[in-house]
């Protein structure tokens, strides 16, 4: 930090304990002690400010690094989340829709299979409503209506009379599509675990950043405290020096007056 205050050289004020026999009055010795104490305190405060400023700088770096790491982790989490959605939702839904249509073909238009196909169409529509820019409910209604209309208007009728070979093929397609759908869901679940892991990392980094921010507040308060101490010590020292100077002046004036009186008597 550019504003770091270097501590002043200490020990430039004589220890007042050495003044016991210097002929100073108790008041003067007290003031000397104050100056000494406040100088020591000022040096301590300057050192505190300097050390805390360095610590604050380190904590700022820590916060920045933790937030950067959290951002990276969130980016990775988003990537894996996208994959999880692709596998677990989009791909699986398409495969289920294919399986449902294949089931309709294979069963020759059984009601259950038709309902499954309608449900798959509705799910697909709901999943992609956002991309199409229409409300989910509207998309589902359109999908259900289209499915029902297609089966009711004779499309299914033509499928009822399928040959055994076509039926077998449809069953194979249904099997493959179901396997793909389930595998895709499993893959999506795996991706969501990785996504969760990155989310956990991001939350950890955010927690670390919070810890460093809290420490920053403590260190900032310590710096404020040290600056207050520095200011107070300066004030006290100034006052003490001023009083000591005034005392010395008064003492000199008194001595002069005494000598003057002696001169008058002589």
């Amino acid at each position: 930090m550019a504003t770091a205050i270097s501590p002043a050289p200490s020990g430039n004020v004589t220890d007042p304990s050495a003044m016991s026999s210097s002929g100073l009055s108790p008041e003067e010795r007290l003031l000397a002690l104050m100056v000494y104490t406040q100088t020591t305190q000022m040096n301590g405060a300057k050192t505190d400010v300097s050390l805390n400023a360095e610590q604050l700088e380190k904590l700022r770096e820590q916060v920045k690094k933790a937030l950067d790491d959290a951002r990276e982790a969130k980016k990775d989490s988003g990537f894996w989340g996208g994959l999880a959605k692709l596998f677990g939702s989009d791909l699986a839904t398409v495969a289920e829709a294919v399986a449902a249509v294949a089931a309709v073909v294979a069963t020759g238009g059984a009601a259950a299979a038709i309902l499954a196909a309608v449900a798959a169409a509705a799910t697909l529509a709901a999943d992609h409503a956002k991309e199409l820019g229409i409300p989910v409910e509207v998309a589902m209604v359109i999908a259900v209506a289209a499915s029902v209309a297609s089966f009711c208007c004779g499309n299914a009728k033509g499928l009822v009379d399928v040959s055994k070979r076509v039926s077998d093929t449809a069953k194979d397609v249904r099997l493959c599509a179901t396997i793909v759908a389930q595998s895709s869901k499993a893959a999506g679940a795996g991706c969501s675990v990785v996504e969760g892991k990155y989310d956990q990392h991001a939350a950890y980094f955010h927690a670390d950043a919070r810890a460093a921010e809290g420490q920053q507040q403590i260190v900032s308060a310590d710096i404020d405290d040290a600056l207050d101490r520095l200011g107070a010590a300066l004030d006290h020292q100034d006052s003490a020096v001023k009083i000591a100077g005034s005392m010395q002046q008064q003492s000199a004036a008194a001595n002069y007056a005494i000598l003057n009186n002696w001169g008058g008597v002589a």
Binding site: S17, M19, P26, E27, L30, Q182, A189, G196, A203, Q250
Partner: protein, 189 residues
């Protein structure tokens, strides 16, 4: 001379616990009073410094609790995601097994559907935590500690102000004594 400093958190002023400078070393009552005031305010500052230290420790502790709670919440969320995903994978496995039976209704299919329906609630149940509430509570404790820190700072500033006033008082008394002495001495014999 053995004048001992009050050792505190870097804000020592001075103590009059001395064998050479006593509070009664001052000739006037006002002087003694001023010194007593200085000493009292110094002790007050020491007490406030202890309060400050205590509040600081409380803040650090609350911060640590908050961070722990946030991490516990993240752990629980991941645990929930793992259980949810594990159930979904099991559901997929049974689903594949059900498809391979080539039957419309099979127990594998029922299990697959059941696991699929349960994966969300299971994840939510396992991932449930009170970490957010704990973190909020810890934040409240941090705020309380910060208020105490501010209060202690204010009290220390007030004590400093009173000490400055006492010093001014000492200064004015000294001037007055000097003026008196000068007046006495100026009366020539």
């Amino acid at each position: 001379m053995s004048v001992s400093n009050i050792n505190g958190s870097g804000s020592q002023f001075l103590s009059l616990a001395s064998d050479n400078i006593h509070e009664d070393a001052f000739t006037s009552v006002s002087g003694e009073l001023a010194v007593l005031l200085l000493n009292t305010e110094e002790q007050q500052k020491q007490t406030e410094h202890q309060q400050l230290e205590s509040a600081r420790n409380d803040y650090t502790e609350a911060l640590s609790h908050e961070v722990d709670a946030l991490k516990a919440e993240a752990d629980a969320a991941f645990r929930g995601a793992c259980f949810s995903a594990g159930t979904a994978v099991l559901s997929g496995g049974f689903g594949v097994a059900a498809a391979e039976t080539r039957r419309d209704r099979s127990w594998q299919g029922a299990v697959s559907q059941g696991l699929h329906d349960l994966s969300g609630p299971i994840g939510g149940l396992v991932g449930k935590t009170y970490g957010a509430a704990d973190a909020k509570s810890a934040q409240g404790n941090e705020e309380a500690a910060k208020w105490r820190i501010d209060d202690a700072h204010d009290a220390i500033k007030n004590a400093d102000g009173v000490q400055n006033k006492a010093l001014d008082w000492v200064s004015s008394m000294s001037d007055r004594d000097a003026a008196t002495t000068a007046a006495i001495l100026s009366n020539k014999v």
